[in-house]
Symmetry: C2
Subunit: 309 residues, 2 copies
């Protein structure tokens, strides 16, 4: 029976039940502990880089360190870590992002807020246009951006994608580069930013580019805080050029209590929840890797130490 050390006590409450369910589902009888009295007896370590465990030397028989995060940059350089390291590739992360983006796009599209908050009990039957009449710009066509674009296309939204480098994507008009950006944004009623943060993408939504959107457009940022010039967004909101912003990521997190986004009547703050590693789905990835380790099969998502990811 393999011994699994769950080495991140702060996450144990969230993982206790899902991990035990996932191990059972994978047909594994395993013992899971949160403290290793005998490190030399530990077969697998489930790990987050914020864990107090930083010295892997005593874990002499450990077959794999299974990271709970996609990112391994905080652990890959640890010289005591000689055991195989796997990063987390959680299908739940993409699913969660698609749910957040689709839900918040539909909230804006349907004008839900006027029904959620309707103290005067106004029976106003004005209908929104159909999704097919509402241009959406999806900035970023990686795994997350593309999955969200597909979900919105399935609801008939005319989506134009944009990426820094050219991409050919079946059935999705995709622009690229600086000029393509202007074409993607021109007249868009909803823009979603799902780009990595690089020197090129920082402040990609700024006074000039926000002015290209349709008046009253909605801005959704579940990507990275620095993609948006905060001051320019606030000015565009006050001028009415942007009708609403729903923001999940910020330059500083948690968003400071005195940040104007909290107080602005047309900004919704969600606390970096659009895509999170979900204990239920990531536990299945962990269990599958333990099963593979026990069966002598190759591990999933093994990190290449030379490449660093």
């Amino acid at each position: 029976m393999p011994l699994i050390l769950f080495a991140t006590p702060s996450l144990w409450e969230d993982y206790r039940d899902p991990l035990s369910a996932a191990l059972a589902e994978a047909g594994l009888a395993a013992e899971v502990v949160t403290e290793a009295k005998n490190p030399a007896a530990v077969d697998y370590i489930v790990y987050a880089p914020t864990s107090p465990l930083q010295d892997f030397t005593p874990f002499t028989r450990t077959k794999a360190v299974l990271n709970l995060w996609a990112g391994v940059e905080r652990i890959v350089g640890n010289p005591t870590l000689t055991q195989p390291l796997c990063r987390m590739v959680d299908p739940g992360l993409t699913e969660g992002m698609v749910e957040w983006v689709t839900g918040h796009v539909l909230r804006h599209h349907l004008g839900m807020d006027r029904h959620i908050l309707n103290p005067d009990r106004i029976w106003d039957q004005t209908c929104p246009p159909l999704a097919r009449e509402r241009k959406v710009a999806m900035l970023g066509l990686g795994a997350l951006g593309l999955a969200c674009a597909r979900a919105l296309q399935a609801l008939n939204f005319p989506v134009t994608g944009w990426s820094r480098t050219p991409k050919e994507i079946d059935g999705l008009p995709a622009e690229h580069g600086p000029e393509g950006l202007d074409r993607a944004l021109a007249g868009a009623e909803i823009v979603v930013t799902l780009l990595p943060k690089t020197a090129e993408t920082e402040n990609i939504l700024n006074a000039r580019t926000l002015a290209l959107l349709a008046p009253g457009a909605a801005v959704l940022n579940p990507g990275r805080g620095p993609l948006i010039d905060d001051e320019a967004l606030l000015a565009a909101l006050d001028a009415g050029q942007v009708g609403h912003a729903t923001l999940d990521v910020f330059r500083q997190e948690p968003l400071p209590q005195d940040h104007p986004f909290w107080a602005h009547p047309r900004v919704t703050v969600t606390p970096h929840v659009a895509a999170d590693t979900r204990p239920s789905s990531s536990s299945r990835v962990i269990a599958e890797n333990v099963r593979r380790g026990e069966a002598g099969e190759p591990l999933l998502h093994l990190v290449d130490r030379a490449l660093g990811y």
Copy 2:
């Protein structure tokens, strides 16, 4: 150039631009008027049963009366109406319903309201489960119910359908009849009612059936007001058995100002907007029928007077 009488002045503002765009799109040069100085010169009548026009006798050369509603029960028995009558089958109606249902399901699923209204600026990163962990019961598997079930399945929600009579539907578990109803509702976290109103479906959500749902479930009714026993729903909301209800249809519409649904903190009222005939898409149906009439082709959605629909 055909002369079209738009015979429902109250809708003219909504239709002026979309109808003219749809006629142009269909390659038709037509004159549209809202008053017929010479009824004998009118080629087509665009009509809603609430129109003041009730005597069709003077329209001697009219080739078709094109109804703006799906329902024709208020006009089909008019003895002066001898011209061909077409009902509206608006693809926008299904699309709008799918958008409303998907949007409001995601609102509940994601727990959006705690972010939309967050006066204390609470940064709470608790994530909802994934859609695949949230059982949905879809009551009604007609065109609308099935389209909504498919859209929710595409987002990974495990949907169980229910209809009065057995239906075999590819890839969708479908229950039927009284016992199947209990199985469809058992443990559902979200229930959507999209049934016609009949003696069998009235009060289908009542004290007994609401008790079958998962505690705190969300109830969405975009179907017909009488599908729900209002008193039982209010009691289940107060007891916490139902966590939220979003209701688009009511026994009396507009919903009376003193109805407890308006005041209840966990009820959202939308004013019968889930599926409306949309001027943009229904104008295209009208234009297509005018095109067919002019080309001598069979009209779409022609009403059979003997059957009454």
